[in-house]
Amino acid sequence: MTSDAPKALGQSLLQKSLRKFRRDKFGMAALAVVAVFGLIALGVKAGLFCTLDQATTPVGDQFVKPFAAYERRLPDGTRAKAVSVFGTDIQGRDVFTKLVYSIKQAFAIGLIVSVLSVLVGVVLGCISGYFGGIVDDALLWVYTAINSVPFILWIISISYAFGRGFTGVVVALACTFWVGVYFNVRSEVHRLKEMEFVLASESYGASKWSIIFRDIVPNLTHLIFVFLSLDFIAAVKNEVLLSFLGLGIAGEPSWGVMIANARLDLLAGKWWEVTGATVLLFILVMAFNMLTDALQDAFDPKKVG
């Protein structure tokens, strides 16, 4: 426990974890990539880069190749010579604009789904793990029931029931993802509940809420961070899958919609739309995976030295 290296005194575990995380080069690089995507998403949301209108309005002929000269339709109906960035799709819409707009879609889904599922999972996991009894039995039963059917079937059926669109995707994903968080939090709470510092709190008569909020929840930080990250990735990937199956977002571009719609174009040699969406998806998911690993390393109390 005692190391010879001089260390800052009075440093909390969280501060130590942050320091460790900052020293992790891969983790920081991954965070930088995620941050760039995040900033673009924010920019799109604020209408700085492109609007939904721009992403859905044709700007030229269909299937203009990337980096090729073409005649661009301007909003006033006139035409001007321009060089395409990443070509146009079957209806002549600008692929690059669609790609950038889709970053916002991915972030919106990832953030909403991960925050919702972690919130629900942590709250129910704490209740189930700490209080036990009938509530625990009931929640565990729900967990087992949801877990005994492949997730993708749940996601498909829930989003089908909700109808195509953003809300359907978010509800379907959040409804299935919380169970993973719940089960892990529940077993961690079970472990923490038997720890002597919780017994100590009980021995001097601390209230149940004080034990949950002061003793248990602060010791779940590592799980919360890791699940936020994991569920973000899973949500982004599943949105693509749902859209590919025709159950995802409608009326707006997203990587999934782009891949789904352009997959037949690929046979005709029009590779840019599918490639663009896939590459961006890959970079974001890869960076998030690396970020999750780094978070796990830095925040797991067993690894914080």
Partner: protein, 326 residues
Amino acid sequence: MSAPLLTVSGLKKHFPVKGGLLRRVTGWVYALNGVSFTLKEGDTLGLVGESGCGKSTLGRTLMRLYEPTEGSIVFQGRDIAKLSNKELMPYRREMAMVFQDPYASLNPRMTVSDVVSAPMRAHGVGSAQDRRDRVAELLEVVGLRAQAATRYPHEFSGGQRQRVGIARALVLQPKLVIADEPVSALDVSIRAQVVNLMMRLKERFRLTYVFIAHDLSIVEYISTHVAVMYLGHVMEKASSKDLYANPRHPYTQALISANPVPDPARRREKQVLKGEIPSPMAPPAGCVFNTRCPLAEERCRAEVPVLRDVSKGGDEHLVACHLVKE
């Protein structure tokens, strides 16, 4: 003579074992089977026994961390065995616990100051400033520097952490401190320091201890009285001096003879116990020690011995054995 601070009678704690799909109760762990003793103010009762004999369960049941199955715990004249959590609150100020593992008994996310003052907050004692003052005072009492208050548990060694745990136990000025193997997780070199600290604190704050340990020499050193436990029963209880000089129960004799003595010239005949402790889920009939007792007779396998006084005047010396003559 003053009334005893703590009188425990017939205390039982049985844990249900659940199994199967519907988690029905499939058996019971008989952790405590009718433990009785009294403890006067200012005394230190050492509880010894092998792992799994129920001594930690006893400590935790006394603190009402576990619900007693049966029996009474009379503390300061009132039976606290059946009180609700709310009714217990005033008594929780009067009794405190020091835990075994100093690495697990302090919340890693709290500063030492928060840890030590937590009992005050739970009881709504004092203002924030009062709490800070009290923490500073206690840290000094247990031999830590005042700067320790703003640090986190992971910045301390095991011995220092145990001092923090002791400070937390003392913060509400309890009468009774139950120490559950407070030094067994510490380095041998640190144990004496912590035990001496606990003895000094006892004098200074007029504490009464229940000191749970499996190290016989430490118990001999700190305790005024010792109770030997086996499978949830008290087998023998006497003053510390009497028990070590003149152990009467065959189990106590075996324990003491197994305890190493730092004197190479002295050789004692060792009684090595055969076999293992039977499972507390299926304790043997009759005297629970009969399966390992070198002297066991027919009667021991049939009849449960009760604790009786075998002293010839003077302090009481209680033994639960059919074969011990008065």
